[in-house]
Symmetry: C2
Subunit: 334 residues, 2 copies
Amino acid sequence: MENRSILLVKRPEGMPNQDNFKLITKDVPEIGDGEVLIRTIYLSVDPYMRGRMNGVKTYADPFELNEVLSGGVVGKVVESRNEKFQIGDIIEGRLSWADYAVSKGDNIRKIDPSLAPISTAVGVVGMPGLTAYFGFLDIGKPKQGETVVVSGAAGAVGSTVGQIAKIKGCYVVGIAGTAEKCKYLKEELGFDQVINYKTDNVKQKLKEHCPNGVDIYFDNVGGEISDAVIRRINYQSRIILCGQISAYNLQSIDSGPRVQGQLIQKSALMQGFIVGDFAKQHREGLKQLGQWVSEGSIKYRENVIEGLENTPDAFIGLFRGENTGKQLVKVNNE
Amino acid sequence: MENRSILLVKRPEGMPNQDNFKLITKDVPEIGDGEVLIRTIYLSVDPYMRGRMNGVKTYADPFELNEVLSGGVVGKVVESRNEKFQIGDIIEGRLSWADYAVSKGDNIRKIDPSLAPISTAVGVVGMPGLTAYFGFLDIGKPKQGETVVVSGAAGAVGSTVGQIAKIKGCYVVGIAGTAEKCKYLKEELGFDQVINYKTDNVKQKLKEHCPNGVDIYFDNVGGEISDAVIRRINYQSRIILCGQISAYNLQSIDSGPRVQGQLIQKSALMQGFIVGDFAKQHREGLKQLGQWVSEGSIKYRENVIEGLENTPDAFIGLFRGENTGKQLVKVNNE
């Protein structure tokens, strides 16, 4: 039985491209005592992976050259020598970009397919959902009636943040890059206002849509969009730094107006985080997210590309703003 | 009886100079019912006043053109038609740059001269001390053994921060601009290491003096010094933004490397504040600071210029780094 997998063979310089990746085929690995063999169903591609492709230690260890890439996976247990997992179990974990992966059981969790579609375990009821949940609630500490701005609003994290903000009674302004995304945010997800940063004058629209200033800014993109939002923050506002996708492919230092003066004038907080900071609370977060999704108070969309071989394309597409909602690769049928 | 006072007659462009100020002489004002007349003993000049000299609303209202400037004052009650204050009381408050000021009693507090020298009421047991106390403790949340870097370390706020950090068991590195200041910090105040940013290679020295990275950065200066410190912050570090004196006289936008990416990689916090954010806790802070000063665990220095007419000089000197410790103007004898 064959096992295809995708290696990182060249570190991207700037925007990633096909030459950075290579698909190879080997035999399916054998499992030892205590291990399980997992067949990949869905692979998740996420912007943060770009950072791991540089050879530099950040919060996550860098991907090694000529090694198989890895990320969020939903898969099925097809062999088991671990008493905690049975053949047929659906699991989620950080596993290889491959048809099959071996796990000792410590980096995977069982999914109950009766609660929600299994793909959501790497989406709205998984890492991106938790990122939205803890970043917005624990750092943002939203109060009813506050104005919330979300950049990268149509992505997996941003679209969840906006909806949690609505649940909490906030006024929500989303920033995204296509008319279709903006329409989706406003008409389907209930955002109060949207800004298309590619066609609108962002400064002008922020002034128009945030007449009372900005109390919480959930930032996925950075760069000039953030410069414009930060100019409008209120006293004791909170800036939640989740991602800076505008900077991930820059080949020079990301420079701009220093924010410190503005943060002092407004007694404002700016806080970076990753979902792992809240690891002890993940179970509680997943429970709440699952409930909101099943009640319909959080909606989600998935953008699914078929075929392991198309994973690099799906990943590169993230930086072109091609996805509305969660970007997934369907690798094998359930 | 004559009353000299100093007006702001021209808004500074860049570095302030004598032409921005004018000394005038009028009669001492008469007081009405409920008011007190105060003779100024000490005037405090502080870097934050530079922001108020621009015609722009920040956290404090701008100074008006052709009006008397104001700031922290220690004075003596010389007339009283307010039952809460007696002739001879020593008070502290935000009052005019003048020989005499009138108060309704709501913006002044009585000082007990037996507890500490009265000048400390606008220094280490006053606004700058409280700024150090709440910024460092409430935002920084120091833990024993952590590495703390303080910029503007020889100023009224910075020198207090470093000593509170030592009381809390931290390892403290101060950054200042003269050999004399560095010597004072290390030999008299007990800083563990010092960096002279005018003669040392700041990046290199930070690497040398902070081998375990930086857990707390208390920032009074901003600019390239901060860029260098922020490169060395640790996971879940705290950057306390108190001032950005390097930027106060800039005539162009203060630009530099964006900090957001680094804050995300380190799950780090950056928080601006002013002392007024902690107004409800000021009494508690003053009590603790007073105790530390009387025990000798916090030392302080004052730089005193004599004569109201020299107040502009004292103020301008702040931006030349002329003061070690608190900059005061002695206006009248006690």
